[in-house]
Amino acid sequence: MAATDESTIISTLSLKSTETKQPLTPGQLVWRRFRRHRMAMLGGIGIILLVLFIVIGSIVVPESRANNTDLRSRLAAPTSTHWFGTDSVGRDVFNRVIYGGQISLFIGIFAVVLEVTLGTLIGGFAAYYGGWVDAILMRFTEAMLAIPSLFLLIVLAKFIGQNVGQVTILGRTFSGSIGIVILVIGVTSWMFLARIVRANVLSLKELDYISASKALGANNRHVFFSHLVPNTLGPIIVAATLGLASAILTEAYVSFLGLGVQSPTSTWGNMMQSAQSFLEQGAWWMWVFPSFFIIFTILCINLLGDGLRDALDPRSSKHL
């Protein structure tokens, strides 16, 4: 009797000890480091709140209300019906901030997807194949870097961005200029990422697990996508996060110059652009709200990016 009791105790004990000793995966380690980074958590929470605001907002407010003009209440200051006031043609600024945020984030995310794809492939191939492939791709990258990207951006936006029609996706009509802006931001921003990826892959490809994979019979595609890209993911994620902030800012900039997304589709940038003519008339609500959202978004994303950089760097023990 006593013996069985003891053995059950021992078995439960050993069960417990294996449970608590269950080691952490690399992902869990990253999460633990990230959690202890206070500013990054703040940034992350800010982003979540922002996304919730935009998603819930666009469910509650139909898009037609954001584009609805009401000439009787032009340039109205914030009231209980128009929380953020109205713009020069009587559209509700609060509703437009919601839909503008949607478009700004949409543009930012897809521009970053394009940036990451181009940067990873170009930087990765250059490093992996080396030799003349490397030389050509890197000279091309340097050439792209040498062109002032804002200049390129404005030229591209002006040439191809002005004469595109409307696009209908999922029953909603967008100005086709959204696609152009994504393309333009994407192709002018991948260069730094390409260099980061190249530097990483250059050091990774000499490691023995790459040779082991080749010795097992892996082809280049397998080596590249199963070993090299996953092991470069840390820097890529950090660059993508920070790239998202700069893409949103660039979109605002281009739209502010009137070369980006065209009305009636709203973005934070073109809302500010339409506000600039009414500065003297004291319509502060027209620019204060979109610019607040831009600043808040950029700040949160940058904080998040900083935290991710520390969390994904296995050598940083600062926040462990």
């Binding site: 080691p23 023995d208 040779s211 080749k214 010795a215 097992l216 996953p230």
Partner: protein, 329 residues
């Protein structure tokens, strides 16, 4: 190139006149200004089920020989014949197929496993690449292989950073073994391990050899380790073969002065024993500008005029005992 080199036609794997020159580039145009002669005309063959030990100091090209044989480094010249086919001439499809038979174990247990992949997946990688069986069957082979190297089922889901150096080295062995190869290049597999762990890994290698009829090329710079595991031993110096003989023969009667110097450097576990040490003068010359004639002559205690002028051939002084030295008897 020596025709009558130490190759037996019936051996499992035959290396003939292997050369690997690494180009040295300089200037804006990256022109090739010189070559590092890492491996220069090396020939040998390995019998089925045999372990050929390969020793030599750092930078003598022994690792390059192992990696070039598996075409992890493209050769400059020569051939490696396995199963009647020249590995260096195979197109990618055939090369992939032959890789199932030819595997490698690495020196650095930390760099040889992908830190983001659970070790079970690493061990299964080759099976997946060659589409062996169903996923379920692959998992079974993987677990079976892990057991062979002394690891448990539950280890499969863990990541490399959770293992010790010795355990990682066994994972590396399991990865090579999963495809049930015939020939494994062991590239200094125990050099990075504690002495107590070294014998453990060596014994696993020996057991596996018996069980699966494996053939090893065992690269090392530790003569005691090589003596423990090898059937025959090859000594390399500066990209060339210096001596090749049966283990006992080589350790009893080293003919090349370089081998003799190496042997006299083996520590003897008896402090009272007086030994005559053969200490070499100078450093290993650069393989960029190897010495004329016999590459060992500037450091050789018994060198004569001919050694600086003509390169000695690799010849059979006794049955099975090959030496490249003008002075060897």
């Amino acid at each position: 190139m020596t025709i009558n080199s130490a190759i037996q036609p019936n051996d499992l794997i035959q290396v003939k006149g292997l050369k690997k020159y690494f180009p040295v580039r300089a200037g804006v145009m990256q022109r090739v200004v010189a070559h590092v002669q890492a491996v220069d005309d090396v020939s040998f063959s390995i019998k089925k089920g045999e372990t050929l030990g390969m020793v030599g100091e750092s930078g003598c090209g022994k690792t390059t020989v192992g990696r070039t044989m598996l075409r992890l480094i493209e050769p400059t010249e020569g051939s490696v014949v396995y199963d009647g086919r020249d590995v260096f001439k195979l197109k990618s499809g055939d090369l992939k197929a032959i890789r199932r038979d030819l595997q490698i174990i690495f020196q650095d247990p930390y760099a040889s496993l992908d830190p983001r992949v659970p070790i079970g997946e690493s061990v299964m990688e080759g099976l997946s690449i060659h589409r062996v069986g169903t996923r379920q069957e692959r998992v079974e082979i993987m677990l079976e292989t892990l057991k062979r190297v002394g690891l448990e089922d539950y280890h499969a889901r863990r990541y490399p950073h959770e293992f010790s150096g010795g355990q990682r080295q066994r994972i590396g062995i399991a990865r090579a073994l999963a495809l049930r190869p015939k020939f494994i290049v062991c590239d200094e597999p125990v050099s990075a391990l504690d002495v107590s762990i070294q014998s453990q890994v060596l014994n696993i290698l020996k057991d596996l050899q018996k069980e699966f009829g494996l053939t090893y090329l065992f690269i090392a710079h530790n003569l005691s380790v090589v003596e423990h595991i090898s059937d025959r031993v090859a000594v390399m110096y500066l990209g060339k073969m210096a001596e090749l003989a049966d283990r006992d023969e080589l350790y009893r009667d080293p003919k090349h002065p370089y081998t003799q110097a190496l042997m006299s450097a083996i520590p003897v576990p008896d402090p009272k024993l007086k030994r005559s040490r053969l200490i070499l003068k100078g450093d290993v010359p650069s393989p960029l500008h190897p010495p004329s004639g016999c590459r060992f002559h500037p450091r050789c205690p018994i060198a004569e005029k001919i050694c600086a002028e003509q390169e000695p051939e690799f010849i059979e002084k006794k049955p099975g005992h090959w030496v490249a030295c003008w002075m060897a008897k």
